[in-house]
Symmetry: D2
């Protein structure tokens, strides 16, 4: 499959975007609870990974679909966060995951890439891969994540 | 909002459907890891809940969106599982969650209801509520879950 | 299925909301081209309908899925538009449709209801029904529509 | 953006797949009504296009979102149809579209590519582009389409 999103030069508006994404990630108890980690942060791009263990599985020994959604959301939000201004903040508005093949692998990797960087909404596309012991990757899920950009870290979504 | 899905009589094809849903749930390491529990199982319906704790939160103290997706998937799949034949099995094909208000609550509740019970595909609608200490509920997310019905518990989705 | 979205009192902020929804609808060439019509407008609610004819069908004589999506989008946007301020404007950010049963009917009806009325984002839930000659309705699709609220009718989405 | 779906060799199971996709397309009244045309058919891939005219627009002179969804569905289904056996048939189970930028262009192009070719379910990813007079393309929407594979052309989805 050839390149789909034109390799436009994403404008970074916060020089500390890497630190910022890693910090936002570290502050989320649920992402720590599922042992997700940030593997890569670049303009318009964020890769999240998790190693297999039974606490992350469903009944057949695959990574659980809820975990795939969680990692996809984190990768999509992380990618969008690299492009916002220093004082702004993100909340996920919606996400959607399609499962393509069972995620039975040593490691799960979610690659989030920005498809639209807007002023009030951003959209990321996420490809999820199962990675085996040899490092071979198999696409196991596709996701789209829509993010709302807030003026600042809001204690409540209610008024936005 | 008035009733939307006609209260058709769902046909239960497995007399042990309650036990079956609870058993499938118990075998999923990830659902135990997030302390989700089955609150109710009825024909075409399944309610899943989780109590708030920091391991389930994002950075603002709300339930994490990934957890909401996980619970929604479980409620939607559980609802669909009440209506399948004893020898069949379900796998989630896709799900989508829209976040409506911040899930800052003592407890999270996902109510899954079957909108379509097919032979190869079922579709569930899920409403997620934040429940406060007084028991008041606020709708915080909507989800749709599509389930694939397999001939039997398959070790692999690949050939289906 | 019991009531899901609490019957909260939606606050209408534009006394001319009915006229406004009908006017926005009338200005959309594509909605006229598919012969869709507004059947009902109320606070937080909009019903759109279309009569069957072969120009709206797929190869089996059902209403085409693309038409169902179009009508769902229009009903969801119309419902959200009833609750915004006079000077604001809506654009659909995303929508998702699940097909439950073939829409082989005399008439198609999409009932859009607001699930969240925000300042920058609104979310509507849509139920689509096939209506036969006797007036009996069958649920044939479910949709969720996310709308972005703009400060004014913008000539371009690009900067928002 | 680099290649995301590994360029696996898709196995064509029906030597007449091109004719088949074009024929299925031609039989759909709604696709003719919106003047959509098949631009390209290849294993695992289908491109659909439509030229701008006011009957396909919303109120700001952009292509209507419902049309984008329609074209996305057709491109996703067409791509999946290139890989199924001669006696099988497809029905869209669900689709989801995210709008990234206003589709104000001379021509709209939807590129559908198969992400999963299964026995009962296929999933296609669709990128939609606005094409201007000079032939320059801008990504304006992303979609995911889930298709159900039927044993044969069914008069009804109800029993599947």
């Amino acid at each position: 499959m050839s390149s789909k999103i034109s390799p436009k030069q994403f404008s970074v508006r916060d020089p500390n975007y890497v630190e910022r994404v890693r910090d936002a990630f570290a502050r989320q108890g649920f992402l720590r609870h599922v042992d997700a980690r940030v593997e890569e942060v670049a303009p318009g791009r964020c890769v999240i990974a998790a190693d297999f263990r039974s606490e992350l599985a469903q009944q057949n020994g695959f990574f659980h679909g809820g975990l795939l959604g969680t990692i996809a959301d984190a990768a999509g939000a992380g990618a969008a966060a690299t492009l916002i201004e220093p004082h702004r903040w993100l909340l996920t508005a919606e996400y959607k995951v399609n499962f393509l093949s069972p995620a039975r692998a040593k490691r799960l990797k979610a690659v989030g890439e920005v498809a639209r960087a807007g002023r009030t909404l951003s959209v990321s596309q996420v490809h999820l891969y199962g990675v085996d012991a040899a490092g071979d990757e198999q696409l196991c899920a596709l996701a789209i994540v829509t993010l709302m950009i807030l003026e600042r870290e809001a204690p409540s979504l209610e008024k936005n």
